[in-house]
């Protein structure tokens, strides 16, 4: 037994390249379905986990998937705006705590999440370095965002315009980084958090500029009619909020109409949850209320269908690889016929010769299986961070 294994091993070692190619091909073939399965499982688990942690979402009527992906993962196109009215309806109902979300802008490709401090309590996010935002224009970064943007408290970050062709739109706002969150293993790690009012300033709903009542600004003043002042374009508009100019920042319009992309509702119990859902289910209702886990299950059903397709593909690939491997072994045996015949002539039994060939196949399959199992194990171990990195 050991001698047959010894000869088989020597043969495999001597033909290193052939052996490595065979092992690699079989490993990949074995790993592919298991790896895909592990990745999809992890992906589904993470998507479910985040959704399960979010009881209800309220947003403008439209795509439920966009609302959930935007509010939970800060991904996808922003859904149609809802408004602060929706937030007030939840609050006034008394059935749930309401947390505003305004996720429309980006800063160096990271999502800018406009919300309130309640969001941090709800998601159990803690500040690891620096402090929470306390003033307009301040931001707190998720740990990955801080790492990737190489920012720390005391530095600043410029918001991006929503549309580069929006020349009449809002100016980019220079935000002061005041804190970095502890890692949470969620999409929050990659986000930039600001107060919802700061997000509205980025949206151009509020701004700060030089006080036109001062003498120095008299050159810019075109008309003064009681309290109404009209100025020309030379009035400087601030692009950064500082303690010196924060008082000059103000909003135009009725705050109850200010936009949100979603409202996160946290009901106290199942009854409150049901009652709150009822409030938003009228046919003439402009808002929709969704259960993220239900929406996510629909999305996952699609992902799982894709997994089935991938697995069928992997199965076909396995069949093709098996045929190629069988062919390689068959050709190898044909080439080695003389050598095996010599062993027989010298005195090897048929079984001993069979054992040598069998060992070679077993060693190749064993190595491939070992590599495939190791890769699958590694995938399962690393898929969490990988999924967060690639998907979330």
């Amino acid at each position: 037994m050991f001698d047959s294994l010894y000869i088989a091993w020597k043969h495999l070692c001597f033909h290193k390249v052939k052996t490595l190619i065979l092992v690699a091909a079989i490993s990949v073939t074995l790993f592919l379905p298991a790896g895909v399965d592990a990745l999809v499982d992890e992906c589904a688990q993470q998507l479910r986990q985040r959704a399960a942690q979010t009881p209800l979402l309220i947003g403008a009527k439209g795509s439920e998937t966009e609302l959930v992906l935007n509010s939970l993962y800060f991904e996808s196109n922003p859904p149609a705006d809802t408004s602060m009215k929706a937030l007030e309806r939840v609050q006034s109902s008394g059935y749930a705590e309401a947390i505003p979300l305004y996720v429309r802008f980006r800063a160096r490709e990271k999502p800018v999440v406009g919300t309130t401090l309640d969001y941090f309590s709800f998601r159990e996010l803690r500040v690891g370095a620096g402090r929470q935002f306390a003033m307009l224009g301040e931001c707190v970064l998720g740990v990955d965002a801080a790492d990737q943007l190489e920012l720390r408290p005391g530095q600043s970050l410029l918001s991006q315009s929503e549309n580069v062709f929006d020349l009449a739109g809002a100016y980019p706002l220079r935000m002061n980084v005041v804190g970095v969150l502890e890692p949470s293993g969620s999409p929050d790690d990659s986000a930039v958090f600001v107060d919802v009012k700061t997000a509205w300033i980025i949206a151009g709903l509020g701004h700060g500029h030089q006080d036109l009542g001062e003498d120095a600004s008299s050159d810019s003043l075109l008309e003064k009619d009681g309290q109404r002042l009209t100025a020309n374009a030379s009035v400087p508009t601030y692009t950064e909020i500082t303690s010196a100019n924060v008082a000059s920042f103000h909003f135009h319009g009725d705050p109850v109409d200010f936009p949100l992309t979603g409202v996160l509702a946290v009901p106290e119990d199942r009854r409150s949850r049901a009652l709150l859902r009822g409030r938003f289910q009228g046919t003439d209702e402009a808002s929709q209320i969704v259960e993220p886990s239900a929406v996510m299950e629909k999305l996952l059903a699609t992902i799982l269908r894709v997994r089935t397709i991938v697995l069928v593909g992997a199965l076909l690939l396995s069949v093709a690889t098996t045929l190629v491997v069988v062919l390689v072994f068959a050709l190898s045996l044909r080439i080695r016929r003389q050598e095996l015949e010599t062993m027989r002539k010298i005195g090897a039994t048929r079984f001993a010769v069979f054992l040598i060939v069998a060992w070679e196949i077993l060693v190749v399959l064993g190595l491939s299986g070992g590599i495939a199992v190791s890769l699958t194990f590694l995938t399962r171990q690393l898929s969490g961070p990988a999924i967060r990195w690639f998907l979330l």
Partner: protein, 231 residues
């Protein structure tokens, strides 16, 4: 060592027939089989080795009638009693010189690798002037060196008989005599009977006995053997 009597062997498909009335190879004897290609020299060697068995007649090696033994028993007998040397060396290209010499011990449980075996293998490599090349692979050796490795492999089991099928057929004239002399000298030293198939008449003077394998003298359409030289 080998006793053949009333042997009648045929390859029906090829219309080949070999008849040997009587042939004896004594212990330690060095015998040559000569004849043209296709005359049946290699077949006779295969019969002596028990690789093929005759339909009629007997081939006894070391007292055992090969025809009465099973295939595996013949294999075991071959491994323990007979050393084989082939024209094209038949070394395993993925084993080193040392591993090739010791190959028979890894093919059948009938042989065990012991310190004495390693000592003998070491000694044989020295005798065959291969000591410095024990770690090389066959493709790193000359033709003559390869055949010397094959001789070492044939002798390492301390057989009573070595059957060599045209061992010099693939060698240049210089290597030819050198390899054959080494084979015969080693065999003599270890008191091993040797049967060598060749079609080179110039080599016959090195053997005690020579038989020619050729067409029947009586004009029958089969091959017979006849003594052409020796005591």
């Amino acid at each position: 060592m080998v006793e053949i009597s009333e042997l009648d062997f045929t390859y029906p498909r090829h219309g080949f027939r070999l008849c040997v009335e009587q042939l004896r190879v004594n212990a330690g004897e060095q015998l040559a089989l000569i004849g043209p290609s296709g005359s049946g020299k290699s077949t006779l060697l295969n019969l002596m080795a028990g690789i093929v068995v005759p339909a009629k007649g007997t081939v006894c090696v070391d007292g055992s009638d090969l025809g009465s033994l099973s295939s595996s028993a013949r294999g075991e007998l071959r491994l323990t009693t007979i050393g084989l040397v082939f024209q094209s060396f038949e070394l395993l290209d993925y084993l080193t010189v040392w591993e090739n010499v010791l190959l028979p011990f890894r093919l059948n449980r009938a042989l065990k690798l012991t310190p004495q075996v390693f000592e003998l293998a070491e000694h044989l490599l020295e005798e065959l002037e291969l000591s410095g090349k024990r770690g090389r692979y066959p493709n790193q050796l000359s033709q003559g060196e390869r055949q010397r490795v094959a001789i070492g492999r044939a002798l390492v089991t301390e057989p009573g008989l070595v059957l060599a099928d045209e061992p010099t057929g693939n060698l240049d004239p210089l290597s030819k005599t050198r390899v054959l002399d080494l084979l015969l000298a080693s065999a003599a030293k270890h008191e091993v009977a040797v049967v060598v198939v060749t079609h080179d008449h110039a080599l016959l003077d090195r053997f005690e006995t020579a038989y020619e394998v050729g067409l029947s003298k009586t004009g029958e359409p089969w091959t017979e053997i006849s003594k052409v030289a020796g005591k």
